[in-house]
Symmetry: C2
Subunit: 144 residues, 2 copies
Amino acid sequence: MQIALDEARKASLLDEVPVGAVIVHGETGEIISATHNEMVRNANPTAHAEMLAIQRACQILGKSRLVDYDIYVTLEPCPMCAQAISFARFRRLHFGAYDPKAGGVEHGPRIFHSSSCFHQPEVIGGIEEVPCGEILKEFFQSKR
Amino acid sequence: MQIALDEARKASLLDEVPVGAVIVHGETGEIISATHNEMVRNANPTAHAEMLAIQRACQILGKSRLVDYDIYVTLEPCPMCAQAISFARFRRLHFGAYDPKAGGVEHGPRIFHSSSCFHQPEVIGGIEEVPCGEILKEFFQSKR
């Protein structure tokens, strides 16, 4: 999660909403991809850290199912990213801050509990919750 | 929707699940992007026709909000794509076949009705429902 936080800090410096994601092998801990939001840079509302991390990991590994892998994200994934995490068949999702407004895992549509969701990763929320939330709070405060 | 169907047919020939998407300007009808699923080709579970159409349209137009645009999809979007359609601020979503199992607009988490969804496009489902559904049915029957 420290590496995901570093990615979030990089995003902040680029004026991107500071969210970071890291994909690691569940057993060896090998890092496959580490990304941050690139929505501004790419002028693309779907360029969330998680989506980019999944795209890059699949490209590197040459496969679309990441069954032996875990994903770490500094913020509770939105419904789009939660569904992508399910499609990619992750073993486990670790996330930092909870997102009561726009989250899609423990809030909103709670994607993994929906009838349309055919793979539920194990979910561990609230890891490094304070720093993961602080970086977002500071970013949005600086925008006011 | 005929162009989206043509895209779905192209997908089928490439052994991709035959779903097509087209983004057009809502007033002029100008086509900005036309895509089909590329999940096999890209080894990427997020490479749904809608995601690719949105990414390409944003890239072409150099902006992340497609407020004057409509999207046509041959199949009811899944929760991931429905949320992406909301993020991109589409004016209207037209889709063909309904997807009771994996759809996320009229089924499953019904993304646009969720508390975490801040933009709801107008939704028109069931356009060219029969051919849009038939091409999928034929594809999956040929796999058995």
